[in-house]
Each structure stands twice: as structure tokens, then as C-alpha cells.
Amino acid sequence: MTATGLRRSLPVVFTNSLDAAAAAGGPGPTGPVIRVQGLEKRYGEHEAVRGIDLEVHRGEIFAFLGPNGAGKTTTVEILEGFRQATDGSVEVLGQDPWCAPGSWRARLGIVLQESGAEPGLTTRECVALYAGYYPAPRNIDETLALVGLSEQAAERAAKLSGGQRRRLDVALALIGDPELIFLDEPTTGFDPSARRAAWEVVEGLRRLGKTIFLTTHYMEEAERLADRIAVIASGRIVAEGTPQTLGGRQLEATQITFRVSGEADLSGLPPGLAERVQRDEGGLLRLPSTAVTADLHELSGWALARGLELQALEVSRPTLEDVYLQLTSEE
């Protein structure tokens, strides 16, 4: 699917969806679509989820991150109604997922982490099969166009490439025109261009006011798409915030890194910089900074005065991945 083709198809496909979402019942436009309080799940002695609280609001893209075995899939499966919570309260679209009726499922779209193709069916037949399951499905061909599978409509779904198969999963989740969409690692195995095309689809859903619960291992994906992120580790939420503020990211020092040629004497550095600068084994100098403009001014003034070149000069904020790794390694 090309990004251009995708953009072209978005306005056409989504025309009736806002009305459908607005007409649907359930929590009001501002109330939480997902509300979890004190959720616990035990498998025998093993505590997979140890009392977590979550709130996801309508129209939000909420990314749920965590390493394998942290309780992420268990939590998602409880929210989807596949597993029963051991303790705590869970409300999704105003219902307890474990005992919610079929009409509740009609308002959900789920892209599972792993799901094979319907054997023997063509791509279009797969979507037609699932369209029949919903009382008011989307148009089949428009949905195929949305995920860029129009040309593969007559091909056997089992013969699609990995990326195309995943797009079919997304089409199957969208065919019921859901209000809330669970995307469980939706772009795993995608090449970079397919991933960007998939992000365009998700952003198209956001523009329609759909609520999206996303799990992913790609920090770039979470940063690009999510309005809010929660990180789970060892069954507990260890951080929650926007991509910019997660784990106090906005308060973390920016790193200024540079090299100087030869064995330049650093002792002449202004004292405010000298006490912070550190040289790593490769000779790269690191200067953590909370006042970047002033520090850079002083540093470049010092270099100019000595006729030195600040080689490989870089100013970098801690990445979301740095913050995530720090958060999850502490557990």
C-alpha cells in the first residue's frame, strides 16, 4: 500500500463512520472508554498482573508498553473479554468484558498479536465472512481499499505476504465499524514503508474519533501515534504519561556530545562545564545539560578561544527507548 494511495482512500471510506460512532450508546463523549481499577490476575501461584489502574478516554490513542512476560498480553486479553480477572474492576465501553453480550463485541475491533489466515478463502471472502458477523458492517471493497489490499482481493489469503496478512487482520478488525480498536503489535514484521503506511491508517482512525488501545515493541511507533503511554513491568504500571513526559523524560538532562582533536587540555574549560563533562573510553566527551543554550555558548566560546574544532557535536534528548529501558530494567 502506498502512503499516497492510502491518503486518497481515507476520506471516502470514513464518511459514515463518525455518525455511527456518535450514534452508538455507552459512555458519553468525554467519559472513559476503558476503566480499570485494581486489576489482578493470578495463574495458580503466578501473579501475572498485580493491581493495575488504567483509564483510556474516547478518541485517544493509548499505547500499552512492556517487555514480554510483564503481564501486557494478559491485561489486553482481560480487556478484550478472553480472560477473567482474578480481582479488581474492569469496564470497557461501560461493560465488564468477561460477561458482556455480543452487542458489546460489535462495538470492538481486535487485531490479535498472532492470527493465521482463514484457510482456503480469498482475501475478499475473509472480509465478507467477518462482515456477516456484524449487524452494520462497513463496505467490504472500501475496507479492502483502506488497507491497500484491493489488488489482492481475489488472492488466497494464506498466500499473502506477512505485511499483507497483517493488513488483512486490520481490515477484519475494521469491518464491523468499531468504536474501540485493540491493536496488539500491529506492525510486527513490517518493513519500514509498510509500517509508515500502517501508521497512516491508525492516524486516519484517530481523525475519526476512534479510540485505540495499542501495544507495540517499537518506541518510534508509540511516540509517533500515542497520545498517552503506560508502561507495565512485572505486573505493575511503572510509568504513565505522554510520549514527551513519560518517566520524567522532560526533566531528564539533554546530552551534549563532542570530540576535540588531539590531547586538548580540558582543564581550561569553564568550571561550570568542567565538573560535568565526562570522557568515555572512545574519547567521546559527554556533557549533561539542563541549560543547553548557555552551555553550548560557553563551550563554543572556549573552543574558539583555543582554535579547537568541536567534532561530531550532537545535542540529544533522552529517547523514549532510553526512558523505557530504564523503567523496565528497574523492575
Binding site: N68, T73, G116, G120, Y133
Partner: protein
């Protein structure tokens, strides 16, 4: 039959959705696609259609000139093998194929994805059961036509109706057992040996491959506990009698129904839509 299949396969993807037309429409919708999936599966076609035909031809070719006692009458083994292989084909289609197919669909997450939709478990199961009934009906028709045209083994009209009833009850019973057994199997890899281990011995002691008259009383008593013998026996009656009442055994139907109920109860307790290795 032709019209039923045609109706089942007729798609209405762009009209109103099946779900909006009620539960029956939804069952037909599910059955149509399950039937399509099954008819397009080379494994299901070979196991469910080709294999029984080959066995019928081989058994009649090898033993067709011998005779045995069947339902109190002395008949050619040709007459014995038609209902026997018919019983076998029902077990293969309704039990073996279903167990292997369900295990595969569960392992690959297809069952979980179907359960993520608004469709109830009852509709999904009823749809698959209906598709299985059509499948067994197709195979039974082919076998009976070959029996008549190639071997001259004809079945009287009322007896054919009895065969249809037995086939229907047998298919539903073995489909229930299929769901129950697939609830105990962890992976698709385990499905094939499990169905073979459970089917093959029963075929030998239940009057499918060897006439019951040639078995020891102990083996006959053992086979009596299991459903294959009751399916085969009722089909045997239809091959040697002409009236409906004489061509179907109420006891056999009750035993098959009891197995169906027991298996359905077990499935309700044990059957899982999620892959067994679903990560936590």
C-alpha cells in the same frame, strides 16, 4: 442436495449482513464459508472423499466374492462394505477432519479471532456442524452412487431415508465428539495421531472393516460401548432391509445421542477458543 449446497454457497456480501437477518441466517453464513473452506482443503478432500472411495474399491476388490451374516441375512461382502465404508466416511468427515481442522484453526488464532466478533459460540459451532452434515452427505451420496452403478448394490427407498437419518444423527454425534476431543488436544501436531489412535481400532472391532459375526463376544461387547459400532450397525440394517422401521435401530440412535450429549457437555466445560500456548 444440490440446491441446499448452492444455497449455502450463495454469498450476499454486499447486501444486508447475515447478522442483521437473524441467527438462522448467521448459521447459514458460517456454514457456507466453513463448507467452502473444507471443500477447498486438499487434506479434507482426500481424507473425507477419496480415501473412503479407494477403500470401498479395494475391500470389494479383495473380499467382494465372500459372504457373511448381516442383520440375520447371509449376504455378499459387497453388501457389507457399502454401509461399513459409509460409516467410516462419516467418522472421518465428522470426527477426524473436524478435530484436525479445529486444532489448526485454534493454533493459528483463527478461532480466537472469530470469537472476538459478536457471533455467539453456539452459532459458530452450529455453522460448522451444518457444514459437516453437508460434507458427509456429499460423500455418502458419492459412495451410494458408486455402490449402485459399479457394484450393483442398491438400497430401497425407505431404507435410503433411514440411511439419511442415521447419517444425520451419526454426523452430529461425531461432530460433538470431535469438539470434545479437540478440547483435549494441545496442538494440531497431536491431532493426527490422536484421531488415528481413536478411530482405527474401533473400525476393526465395530463392523466397519470386519463383519461383527467374525469377532469374539468380548470384542463385540467392548465395541458396544463406543459409538462407531452403533453407527455401522444401523447402516447395516438399511443395506439388508427395505422398510424404514427395519432399516434403523432406535437403540443405536439413542446410544449415538447419548454420546452426543455427553461430548457436548464435556466440550462446554473443556473447549477453548484460545491457542493453548497463548502467552500471558
Amino acid at each position: 442436495m444440490y440446491f441446499l449446497i448452492k444455497r449455502l454457497l450463495r454469498m450476499r456480501p454486499d447486501g444486508s449482513s447475515a447478522a442483521s437477518r437473524g441467527s438462522l441466517a448467521l448459521v447459514l453464513h458460517e456454514a457456507a464459508y466453513d463448507l467452502r473452506i473444507s471443500l477447498r482443503s486438499p487434506r479434507a478432500r482426500v481424507m473425507g472423499i477419496v480415501f473412503p472411495i479407494v477403500l470401498l474399491v479395494v475391500f470389494i476388490g479383495v473380499f467382494g466374492n465372500e459372504h457373511t451374516l448381516l442383520g440375520g441375512a447371509r449376504v455378499s461382502l459387497k453388501v457389507f462394505y457399502v454401509p461399513g465404508i459409509l460409516a467410516m466416511s462419516i467418522v472421518v468427515n465428522a470426527y477426524a477432519s473436524l478435530v484436525i481442522s479445529i486444532s489448526g484453526l485454534r493454533e493459528t488464532g483463527v478461532l480466537k479471532r472469530r470469537r472476538a466478533t459478536p457471533v455467539s459460540a453456539t452459532v459458530l459451532i452450529a455453522g460448522q456442524a451444518l457444514a459437516t452434515v453437508v460434507n458427509t452427505a456429499i460423500t455418502a451420496t458419492i459412495l451410494l452412487v458408486i455402490a449402485k452403478l459399479v457394484y450393483g448394490v442398491g438400497i430401497a427407498g425407505p431404507a435410503l431415508l433411514a440411511i439419511a437419518c442415521t447419517t444425520l444423527v451419526g454426523t452430529l454425534a461425531f461432530a460433538c465428539i470431535g469438539y470434545a476431543v479437540s478440547g483435549m488436544i494441545g496442538s494440531q501436531e497431536a491431532a493426527q495421531p490422536t484421531v488415528q489412535m481413536t478411530m482405527l481400532p474401533l473400525w476393526f472391532i465395530s463392523g466397519v472393516f470386519i463383519p461383527v459375526a467374525k469377532l469374539s463376544p468380548a470384542l463385540r461387547d467392548l465395541a458396544d460401548v463406543f459409538p462407531v459400532q452403533h453407527l455401522a450397525n444401523s447402516l447395516d440394517l438399511a443395506s439388508v432391509h427395505s422398510s424404514f422401521a427395519a432399516s434403523i435401530s432406535a437403540t443405536d440412535m439413542l446410544v449415538l445421542a447419548a454420546w452426543a450429549v455427553g461430548a457436548a457437555a464435556f466440550s462446554a466445560w473443556r473447549f477453548s477458543w484460545l491457542p493453548s500456548d497463548a502467552s500471558r
